[in-house]
């Protein structure tokens, strides 16, 4: 199986095929509904974002609390379409990879084409399995959002499927 390290180089993305399974390693940031709302509010006010989004990978996930002796609780993907209205603004700032589940809308796909981004799907509900691939987790902002806070995760061999590419090709029916 192919490995991909994040942050990625553009040349890493071109050879990827739709439906191809890859193992992701490196740094990814969790952000879901409430965090997206806050990020976009910051952008609209012209403020600086709490992490460097240029080239970053965002994972749509709100984990369970970490049980004793684990860095994080179960942490599968949440449904991506709820982030669609916020996504183009983040892509314009350089967001490179999104990880979630389910189809994206046309605006997101258009913005992905414009910005050369990649959308990966993790298996929804496979939260205990994905938890095993997270080596560390730190809340970096919006702690008041609880499960929805933004976390910096270090992942190793995190299984994902190439779902939508920057040329608009998609695995979804």
């Amino acid at each position: 199986m192919k490995h991909l390290t994040v942050p990625v180089k553009d040349t890493d993305l071109q050879p990827l095929k739709i439906g191809e399974e890859i193992l992701l390693s490196g740094t990814i940031y969790t952000a879901r509904d409430a965090a997206h709302k806050k990020l976009v509010e910051l952008i609209n006010k012209g403020k600086k974002l709490p992490f460097d989004i240029d080239g970053a990978a965002i994972y749509y996930s709100g984990p369970c609390p970490a049980p004793p002796n684990f860095p994080i609780g179960p942490c599968g993907p949440t449904t991506s379409y709820r982030m669609d209205s916020y996504t183009p603004q983040l892509l314009d700032l350089g967001l490179k990879i999104m990880i979630g589940k389910g189809k994206r809308n046309d605006n997101v796909v258009e913005s992905m084409k414009k910005n050369g981004a990649l959308y990966l799907a993790a298996t929804g509900g496979a939260a205990a399995l994905l938890m095993d691939c997270v080596k560390s987790s730190t809340v970096i902002c919006f702690p008041e959002l609880g499960a929805e806070a933004i976390r910096k995760l270090e992942v190793k061999n995190f299984p994902v499927i190439v779902a939508t590419k920057a040329n608009g090709e998609t695995v979804y029916r």
Binding site: G76, G125, A147
Partner: protein, 279 residues
């Protein structure tokens, strides 16, 4: 009169949530195995294997199957000959939910619909109480994730559209949902009754053991046909194509008004979680 201490109910519900957020319906693994035997697409194979593996890891590590440990839905049927002693029953149920979500390291997902401020303990539970014959108490709990709940729908179909209208509505709902509700899904369908009874029956239908067909033969035929038709849609596991879009269709019907044919569809993801216990 049989006297039952409410504390007993609280303890039962506490244990049931701790169990069912970690261990899915006992039939799930077998159903996934069956799907693996027929599924031809390699992506579908790989996703189904992950789902299978996830069940094992959750069990070994005693952690929730899915991070969305849901809203706590509790159905409680109380025998008419039972007298409850102790705390107010709904408070006891909420205590059980609060304790289970805390002790189990489950996610707290419940918040105000307007302010979006989280209650921090996953209460209040959604409680459906019913009085039944006899002196037993039957408790059923089901944590419900919202990836699939969000894909649920209700429609007041016209009598002229009839059963064909129901088929059309169900297939359209599954098609629109695509990969969002974490297929392979199970559908709980309410047919008939009033607007709210129909929706409640859809939820109740999901409490049946996975794949257990209706005792009503006419309904069982509809369940089978729908399951067959849904699996011809090609949506497949996580919406990436394949022949395993749904694992089961469960229907509960109720008499309705001569002017109507309500139909509610409650979508359940592959994390089929529920427990039942009789006291």
């Amino acid at each position: 009169m049989r006297i039952v201490d409410v504390k007993l109910i609280e303890e039962a519900i506490y244990e049931m949530f701790l169990t069912c957020c970690v261990h899915p319906d006992r039939a799930l693994s077998g159903r996934i195995q069956d799907a693996l035997a027929v599924e031809k697409s390699p992506i579908a194979q790989s996703i189904l294997k992950q789902i299978q593996k996830n069940i094992e890891i959750a069990d070994q590590n005693n952690v929730p199957l899915c991070q969305d440990t849901g809203m706590a839905v509790v159905f409680i049927d109380i025998g008419q000959e039972v007298s409850l002693k102790g705390e107010y029953i709904n408070d006891a149920i909420n205590n059980a939910v609060r304790r289970a979500y805390q002790d189990g390291y489950f996610r707290k997902s419940v918040l105000s619909p307007i302010t979006r401020i989280n209650t921090e303990d996953n209460t209040p539970a959604v409680i459906h109480t019913r009085i039944i014959k006899g002196d037993k108490i039957i408790i059923r709990v089901a944590p419900k994730g919202f990836g699939s709940e969000n894909m649920s729908r209700i429609k007041m179909i016209t009598p002229a559209q009839g059963i064909e209208g129901i088929y059309e509505f169900v297939l359209e709902t599954v098609k629109n949902a695509g990969g969002n509700p974490c297929p392979p899904i199970t559908l709980g369908i309410g047919i008939g009754g009033t607007f709210e009874l129909c929706a409640l029956n859809a939820k109740r239908a999901l409490l049946r053991s996975l794949g257990e067909s209706s005792e009503d033969e006419d309904i069982a035929v509809i369940e089978k046909k729908l399951l067959n038709d849904i699996n011809k849609l090609g949506i497949g596991p996580m919406g990436m194509g394949g022949s395993t879009t749904a694992l089961a269709v469960h229907i509960i019907s109720a008499p309705t008004h001569l002017a109507g044919l309500p139909c509610a569809i409650n979508v359940q993801c592959h994390s089929v979680r529920h427990e039942s216990r009789t006291i």
